[in-house]
């Protein structure tokens, strides 16, 4: 390295760039150090290991009557587990995709062989309220799914947004059927 550098004549002229380099190196290492210290502090505000460990919830489906749904808590969020009637399934499957705000077929939103169960995260994709509609007596909106009381977003029986201001379909949690009547979320 050293021999590739042309050595400038000794004298006051060389002082300034040398000082600049020293300053640059000092400030840069201080900045790297500060960043290295900042990261553990910032990361400590992310979900901790015990919070991550609490991430699976089991749900028994037997008590849920056709046409109604329940809300369970998973990672602090409401999860809608709804037992759809044949008509609701049909209406969800038959909608032409071009009528949807976020086009997605019903088959991608339920598990094969369990199409009567629609399981979504019950958080409006607008600004985070919990939509109504699990109980048959709740307002369910024009498309028979869920209705958000905050700013009037409406979802269909597949949890897809049909009327704004919400921009996206209700999100799906990761889950699997352990038996025909039991699911594990997370």
């Amino acid at each position: 390295m050293a021999d590739t550098v042309t050595v400038p004549p000794v004298g006051h002229v060389t002082e300034a760039p040398r000082r600049d380099l020293l300053k640059l190196v000092t400030v840069a290492s201080a900045a790297i150090g500060a960043g290295a210290i900042a990261w553990p502090l910032i990361d400590s505000m992310n979900p901790s290991q015990d919070v991550l460990a609490l991430s699976a919830t089991e749900v028994d489906l037997t008590p849920i009557a056709e046409g109604s749904g329940i809300t369970v808590l998973w990672r602090g969020k409401p999860i809608f587990v709804r037992h759809r009637t044949p008509e609701e399934i049909k209406s969800a499957e038959d909608v032409p995709l071009n009528q949807l705000i976020e086009p997605q077929p019903d088959s991608q939103r339920v598990k094969p062989g369990h199409t009567q169960w629609i399981i979504v995260i019950g958080i409006c994709t607008h600004l985070g309220c919990v939509p109504l509609g699990n109980k048959p007596t709740d307002p369910r909106g024009e498309w028979g799914g869920w209705f958000c009381p905050c700013h009037g977003s409406q979802y269909d029986t597949s949890g897809r947004v049909r009327h704004g201001p919400a921009p996206l379909n209700l999100n799906l949690p990761p889950y699997a059927f352990e038996t025909d009547t039991k699911i594990k979320i997370g």
């Binding site: 990361d43 901790s48 015990d50």
Partner: protein, 423 residues
């Protein structure tokens, strides 16, 4: 007094702000060009190190508080959760835990510097007294912080220390009940300790501001203990002392890091990893190392009120130190007798610390009593008389003289434009 400040900063944005709120001029004046004695040794790093420690303690403390629960049923577990589950929680806690020790080491050396070089003498008496207030605030903060993990030492430490106030005649027991918010150290105590432990560091920041403001009025003392006589005796704070302080900060952080990563529990006590049990006192209750000398003084006096008074007195005596020391000479370098005696005091305090770490039995009681007596003897008897008896060595004419043997030409950057002179 109204009127815009005339700012010299070329950068238009800085100039605009500085014209309306001259913080840049202030920083430039107090930390840029601030004339500082040119003969500082590394002892003058320790104030800056204490500031760094304080800032790190506040930052790590804020992040710990995000995960801590001040409730007797949950406090211990919430700390264990920080250690095991919170991302980097172990690191943040160990930095904070060992930071208390690092802070005290640094401040004790800072105080020693003041004692050795006579920094408490006129005109810096108030600066010194504000320092003693900082020490008391630090002690209160550290004590309450130690209670928060709610281990056995937390609980019994809190019990013993709060009970000190029961020594006060007549109102003592009432004060203790008031401190506890109940009839023993319990949930209300823990809640208020948490609140105060969060508050006091910011009080320290406020008092520190006064400490530094007072320092910038009197200017710093220096190893020779003589006043600055001409601009030749000084250097601008930046870059000379910003760089010297940075060197110290690097070493300081390295030692702190070594403690955190290799010996995180070396200075702590294992019993504090046992949850608090109000029904069983651990075999030997000892405070953290930085309280040991005071603890030894407390136990050396076989009388409740006496012990408590002596313990508080050992710190309060520092408040009047500027008037107890009658010698007009500041620096120990020119006080041949005091230069020896101050080391006797250091050994005395270290011995007191050792006594505090041992059960009060046998020889330790004797050593404790001798050392306690000497401690007060030093301040109350030796210092007032020594000032009158001791013959100080001749003081140098100016700071520049001993540093630059033959009169000394101006150093680069040292107030070049000003004419020298005016003794």
């Amino acid at each position: 007094m109204a009127g815009l400040h005339k700012s010299d900063f070329p950068n238009p944005v800085i100039n605009w702000i500085d014209t309306r709120l001259p913080v840049f001029t202030l920083m430039q004046k107090e930390y840029g060009t601030f004339p500082t004695p040119k003969n500082f040794n590394y002892f003058w790093n320790f104030g800056a190190l204490a500031v760094v420690a304080l800032m790190i303690m506040i930052v790590t403390g804020i992040f710990l508080a995000m995960n801590y629960t001040p409730n007797v049923t949950m406090a211990f577990d919430s700390v264990e959760r920080i250690m095991r589950d919170v991302n980097y929680g172990w690191l943040i806690r160990y930095v904070h835990m060992n930071g208390a020790s690092m802070f005290f080491i640094v401040v004790y050396i800072h105080i020693f510097r003041g004692l050795y070089y006579g920094s408490y003498k006129a005109p810096r008496e108030l600066l010194w007294m504000i320092g003693v207030v900082l020490l008391l605030l630090m002690m209160a903060t550290a004590f309450m912080g130690y209670v928060l993990p709610w281990g056995q030492m937390s609980y019994w430490g809190a019990t013993v220390i709060t009970n000190l106030f029961s020594a006060v005649p007549a109102v003592g027991p009432g004060i203790v009940t008031w401190l506890w918010g109940g009839f023993s150290v319990d949930n209300p105590t823990l809640n208020r300790f948490f609140s105060l432990h969060y508050l006091l560091p910011f009080v320290i920041v406020g008092v520190l501001f006064l400490h530094v403001a007072a320092l910038h009025i009197t200017g710093s003392n220096n190893p020779l203990g003589i006043e600055v006589k001409s601009p030749q005796d000084t250097l601008p704070f930046h870059p000379y002392y910003t760089v010297k302080d940075s060197v110290g900060v690097c070493v300081f952080l390295l030692i702190w890091a070594a403690l955190v990563f290799f010996y995180p529990n070396y200075l702590g006590h294992v019993d504090n990893y046992t949850p608090a049990n109000p029904l069983a006192t651990p075999a030997d209750v000892v405070p953290e190392w930085y309280f040991l000398p005071f603890y030894a003084i407390l136990r050396s006096v076989p009388n409740k009120l006496g012990g408590v008074s002596m313990m508080f007195g050992s710190i309060l005596v520092l408040f009047v130190l500027p008037w107890l020391d009658t010698s007009p000479v500041r620096s120990c370098r020119f006080r041949p007798i005091y230069r020896q005696l101050i080391w006797v005091l250091v050994v005395d305090v270290l011995l007191l610390g050792t006594v505090g770490a041992h059960p009060p039995e046998g020889i330790w009681v004797v050593i404790g009593r001798v050392c306690t007596s000497y401690y007060f003897l030093h301040f109350l008897v030796v210092l007032p008389f020594l000032g009158k008896l001791e013959r100080p060595l001749p003081l140098p004419e100016s700071i520049s003289r001993p540093v630059i043997p033959r009169g000394g030409g101006p150093l680069p950057g040292a107030a070049p434009a000003k004419p020298m002179g005016k003794p």
